[in-house]
Symmetry: C2
Subunit: 178 residues, 2 copies
DNA sequence: TATTATTTTCAGTAAGGACTGAAATAAACG
DNA sequence: CGTTTATTTCAGTCCTTACTGAAAATAATA
């Protein structure tokens, strides 16, 4: 698969962005490549296009499948596995957000709850002023994370159409809320 | 500054989370430490508490100041610089989001616009079917990023109170939109 | 079942980023 | 000013993660 200057620019940038958000550069590049590819492609082709080892591609594809944004797409008369990603960007975004919520937000929620609960228990016995302060901070942070999580759940349950309309509604948002 | 088991757990977790989102572990730990500290603290104390080199703390604090979530707080009768972070978690979140938007979303927006523009130009001359496909994908992605950016701008301009109310409004959201 | 094609695993290596300690710089004090 | 205190810079080192290539495992074919 040959990259035009435009697509190459995109693939490189996507890799760069990925790495800024804790996603391996190659993984992100592969994702970009699949996204702009008009048909499913196989691992060898990816390896060649991006100049990385075949084994690296294998691992990265597994990772992307784990995220739920890449899947195997059988191609008629081909033995090799071919891969695609969903073309609907909104769907893609939601899948990624779901996964990050599960992997990162939820564990943080759990941890903060533990911290705040233990802090509550200690309050029964005497505690230093500084500890009380820290505990208050933790409780506030917990509230924020819970609120965000709950809000996302709401948004997530909207029908796709409504969701996109909501995001696109521009200055009407503030009117709506007042 | 001595950490209780609770606060220590929090600081470590925060560092861990940071590194998953592309933020240096130590930087995130320092931030956590400042967040739960009832009073401004100086670099030496941070270094000691977290067992890292003084110079490392210096760099990390600069980084945090660059993000706008840590500032120098002069303490009466002290020569050393002392540091704090805002106690309002919502404020903190918004500051970070602003900064990430500026650093990562906006450049992506610029790049995608360039790509899509160049693609438009090519359409004038003849172009292969596959290129046309890729360009369509890029245009869709651009639309998503633009929409997200615009929406964030809206949300960002809400008064703090309204914003928090909005995020906390639970199941009323879907009712509001229908 | 043997042969060939394809994918995965994994030990070793490379690359990138984080961290340290020492030296340089800057700021405060007397 | 000279001295002391505090902060920053930076070259070298360490550590983590990414990546490779070869070998093992799996799957398809005949």
């Amino acid at each position: 698969m040959k990259l035009t200057p435009i697509t190459q620019k995109f693939v490189l940038h996507w890799g760069e962005m990925g790495s800024r958000w804790g996603i391996n550069r190659t993984v992100a590049q592969i994702h970009a490549l699949l996204y702009i590819s008009p048909r499913p492609i196989h691992a060898d082709e990816i390896a060649e296009t991006l100049s990385v080892a075949r084994s690296n591609v294998s691992t990265s594809l597994k990772e992307l499948q784990g995220w739920g944004i890449v899947q195997v797409a059988p191609v008629l008369g081909e033995r090799k596995d071919h891969f695609t990603t969903q073309t609907d960007v909104w769907e893609m975004l939601l899948v990624v957000l779901d996964e990050r919520k599960k992997r990162e937000l939820d564990p943080t929620l759990t941890l903060l709850r533990e911290c705040v609960m233990q802090a509550e228990e200690q309050k029964a016995g005497g505690q230093v002023e500084d500890e009380a302060y820290a505990h208050k901070r933790l409780a506030e942070l917990l509230d924020l994370v819970e609120t965000m999580g709950g809000w996302y759940g709401q948004v997530r349950s909207l029908p796709r159409k409504t969701l996109v309309k909501f995001l696109k509604m521009g200055s009407k948002l503030s009117k709506l809320l007042s």
